[in-house]
Every structure is written in structure tokens, then in C-alpha cells.
Symmetry: C2
Subunit: 333 residues, 2 copies
Amino acid sequence: MGDVARHAGVSAMTVSRVLRQPELVNKDLRLKVEAAIRETGYIYNLVASSLASQRSGTIALILPTVASSIFSDSVKGVADVARTRSVQMIMAETNYSSAEEEKVIESLLRRRPDGFIIVGVSHTRATRTMLEKSGVPVVETWDSTSTPIDSLVSLSNFDAMKAMTASLAQQGFRRIAFVGTVTRDRRAQMRAKGYMAGLAEAGLHEAVIFNARDVTSMGAGAEVAAQIIAASPRPDAVICLNDVIAAGVLLALQRAGLHVPRDMAVAGFGDFDFARHLIPALTTVDIPRYEIGQRAAEILLDRVEGKQPRPYTCEVSYRITVRESTERCARSK
Amino acid sequence: MGDVARHAGVSAMTVSRVLRQPELVNKDLRLKVEAAIRETGYIYNLVASSLASQRSGTIALILPTVASSIFSDSVKGVADVARTRSVQMIMAETNYSSAEEEKVIESLLRRRPDGFIIVGVSHTRATRTMLEKSGVPVVETWDSTSTPIDSLVSLSNFDAMKAMTASLAQQGFRRIAFVGTVTRDRRAQMRAKGYMAGLAEAGLHEAVIFNARDVTSMGAGAEVAAQIIAASPRPDAVICLNDVIAAGVLLALQRAGLHVPRDMAVAGFGDFDFARHLIPALTTVDIPRYEIGQRAAEILLDRVEGKQPRPYTCEVSYRITVRESTERCARSK
DNA sequence: AACCAATTTGTTAGCGCTAACCATTATCTG
DNA sequence: CAGATAATGGTTAGCGCTAACAAATTGGTT
């Protein structure tokens, strides 16, 4: 920067101003400095800038997993906002584990991000303390809670899944099973509980829950399909934790010779891209995934810039999207 | 850090050593310092560290898009290596545009990453110059070239698609069409050229190419399916730029009442998770997506740490995986 | 005992920027 | 036209670490 300053015959401070608040610099001088920057091929050093200004210009995004379509739209939402407001997003994954989350957040905190966006509201005590002590704004997402760390983009997995269960019950399905997972992931648990509540309210049978090996591969859904077929009595509908599992189940059922929805209806969660294209098209809970990321990022950056001085909570809606995979079409009984 | 040092009754430098090269510090002292860190709740500042040590401990990953399953396994590969070798990965997307890539790389360079992993080998002149001048190690991936910027994890999209075309021709398909895209994305172009070369070599007809609106949504595949069905003469096989498009085409063909593969075979590229689960299971080119990311990251970090003093090129293999969607089963002619 | 090398800790001087303040000049006010 | 006000640029002193070197201590050797 000193080099550029010399080239333009000004002080380093003026160069710094041209780069950060050009409106404070006289136009002629500014042009001269900009020319000097081009001539010297100078590349601004944000590391030094971050240290001096105590602002890193980064926001951290904590996800259960990056290698899945589940969160990719939310990531895109965050990334788009980050770009327009010129901050850099850094991502890390927790593999659905609070312990890993704690490690990951501690490690990211060392980079002094200006804020955190976290998927989920369930954290270890240490994580919470660490974040609170650091004074960094935090936006939690994809779940609901009455005690957010700071801000929240709320989504009630419980309500959504309860609504889906109610919808199927109302359509006349009488043995509705659920495919979940054994992990301690809170969003998965809330969905399972929503299912149970929905069943109870409809006055149907006891909950029937199958567990998938993991929640990000169709293979896990396909595996569990065998158990579902073998179950006695056999369910007439299955609600899956998410669309990936649902697709795995749906395709495996078909492969086993069952007709969906005649022999068994299948519903998912998330309304992923492929849901509407499957044959039969998948009934699912439509979640505004992109919007969750977008709003979280906007709230976070407003917090960072002080435009939003207080923690802020908002809620995103969900919608039951009924498609062919649960249509009781030509069924008698 | 001074605070911790006082607590432990040592100098700041010793604290720094405990954090970065604990083996250089006497065990007793080290334990005392570690206790002091815990007591004070000290969080190491990597921003200051980066500035002082001229190493940021980050690697940049440049992708066409983050919101798609296409690269998510490669991202995972990079992320896993990054974690074990304790560097942070920062990602940015180019939207399949060299101009955006240039902007994105310039912007990332300001953060002084220790290295770059870039999907693709086609860049603007300015991008290349910038990277070379910066002296940062670069690994290009997912494409092949004889003039890499630095290191390369090579994949021949041309060869792979040519092999797929040859495979279909050999299976007896006689009118093989291709679904590509109109963008100037080099990997897409090479795949199209590979298809054309394969056709030519098989001595079949002229190339028949359809274009999808985008390459990351099934909807784009579904749209193009209508054109394919209307084409005259109608192809008996379609090779798609990737599995997402292929799935869109396959499902739309079925929805239009065609039988796959009897009326038309469909092949994809990438062997995404869903390919083997679709009905019929999708014939595709199996690419080691995770491995590409993994190897790129390993090579890059070896370059960063000086373990690998010279640019290094390696190649990953592909495999034609024939599944039901192109099986000429019960077809007469 | 004198010497050397290895081991361990401390000291100094930045890394490349910017916050906060000061100095200068132009512009306005009554 | 004095005096206040803005607009503009420069100075100084760090931000919180670490590279490089210096110093002190230990142990082994002759």
C-alpha cells in the first residue's frame, strides 16, 4: 500500500480511504490513486485490514453437512446476500453432532467472523457460552425455540410434520408409518414428534417408526423400504424425514413391485428439486429453503452493522404440497 | 495472549509456542499455559497470526455453483482433507462464467489464501496473470489441459463422453442424440465434442444436439424432453450432459408415455447418488467426484507446505456404468 | 574446569493495515 | 472580513500476533 501511495504521491491513509470510503476522497486524487493501484498490480490485504479494523468481513455458516442437497439452497441464499453485501462466507459442517459443532465453532471463532449462521438450535452448554462471551451476533435457523442465543429464523419441524400427518389421515390413510433416524438431531426428533402428535390427534394407531441408516442418501431409504414391506400389518402410507429418504423408499417400493400410492403412499419433507419430477410426483412439505438462508444472512448482517440493535426472530412458513404419491385415486376400501 | 502469559507467568512468545509448536515447550510449562488458556477463556486470534506469519491457513475453492449436487462430493473431499490438515476452506462460485471467476478470484486473493483449487481450466488472461503473479499454488480440476497454471487433477470429459457414445453405439443404438447446454462452459463443450467424436468414429449419423436451459435442475431436462420426443426422426438414445439433466429427461419421457429404454434409452454423466435408484437405473459415466476434491486438496497442501516443490499433474479415471436405462432387452430390431 | 552443543525461554521489531486525531485549505456566514 | 464550518489529506500509534535472534540453562565431553 505504501508502494501505491508513493506512485500516486499521497499517503497510505489516502489509499486506504480510496479503497474503503472513496466518497471521502477528492475525485482527481481518487482517480490518480486508482491508476496507481492498477499500475502496480496492488492487491489489497484483507488480513491486515481485518486486524486493524477489528472486522473480518466474513460470516460463518455452520451446517450439519455440506455434501447434500438438503441445505444447498439455504447456502445459496446466504451466499447471494453475502455477495451483494460484500462479505465472505465461510462454511463448516458438524456431521449432525453437537460435540463436533462445538469444536467447529471454537475453531471458526479464531478467525474472528463478524457473525454466525447456525442450522439448528440445539447446542452444548460450552458452545452457547462461547458464543455469548464472544459477543458475535448469531442467527439460528431451521428449527424453533423460545430461547435463541441471539436471532432466529424459525421453522417448526413439529408443526410441519404434524400437518403432513393430519393431511394423510384426512385423505383416508389408516396405517401411517414414519421413517426417521436414530441420531440425536433435534430437527429429526421434532419431525418424528410432530408425526406422533398428528397420529394421536387423528385417533389412529400407535406410532410406527422405522429408522434409516443415514438421512442424506437414497440408499438408506431403499434399505428401510425392505423393512416396511415386511412389516405386519403393512402401513398404507409412509412419511419420510426428508425427500431424499422418501425418494429412496418410493423407488425401492416400486422396484419390489408395489404400486405407489395404491399399495402404499409415500410422503417426504423439503420439496427438493426432484420431488415434482418423480413418478409418481412426491407429496412433501414445501420449505422455503433459499429464503431461510437469505433472511438469516440479512438479519445477521443488519445485526453486524448495527442496523438491528436487538435480537430478532422471524418465522418462515411451510406448505403441504400434495402430489401423486399420496393420491387415493382408484382405491376402493 | 498477553493476558494468558501473565496468568501463566511466562512470555507471550511461550504461549504462542504452546499453541503452534507445543513440542518445543517444556511439559510443565506447557501444562501451566494450557491451564491459563482455559481459565481465561482465551480464544486464539488467527487474523493476527496470519498477518504475522504470512500464512492464512485457508485454501480457496472456486466452483461453478455451490447449490447443486454436481460438486458437493468434491467439496466434501476438499473439506475432509482441509479438516485433517487443519486449514479452513473458503468457497466461491462463478456461475459458469470466466468473467465472474476473475472477480471472485481477485476478491479471494485479498484474503491471502495459501492456495487455490479451481474447477475448470479455462480462465481469462487476467485471471491467469493474477494467479501467477501472486505466487500462490493452484490446483485445477475436473478438466484436462496441457498447460495448467500450476498443478492439475485431470479428467478428460472428452474421452469419457466419447467412450459413453461408443458404448451405446456398440450396444446397437443407431440414432444417438445429445443434451448439452448453450453456455461457454468448457467441460460441457468437451463432453459435446466427445459425443461428436464418438458418433463419427462409430460411423453413424450427424450429431443431434439439444440444449437445456440450465444444467443444474431436472426441470431443464424435463423441458428438453418435449423437443426430443417431437424430433424427427426420433432418437433411440439420448446422452445427457449430466445425471441431473438425464433424470429430468428420463422422467419426462416416462411421463409422456414412452418406455425407457425400449422407446428411447437415456444415459447421464456423473453417477450421482440417485442414478442407481431410478427406475430404470441410469446408465452413466462414473466419475470419482469425492476423490477429485480429496486429491486436489492433498496436492495443494503438499505444495503449500513445500513437500511438493514442483507443479504436479495426475489424472483420475472414469468408468462407463451400464444400467437398465440403456439395456436393449426385449427390443427386436 | 573449560568447552561445546542442545534445549528452553525471552526480547525486539515488525506483518500491512486503520482509528483517531491533527493540519490545512476552501466555503460560508452575518 | 473575522470567525465558524466543512471538506480534505496527513500523522501517529497501535491491532495481536510471530520470525529471528539472543540469552539462559542443562548436560555431556575432554
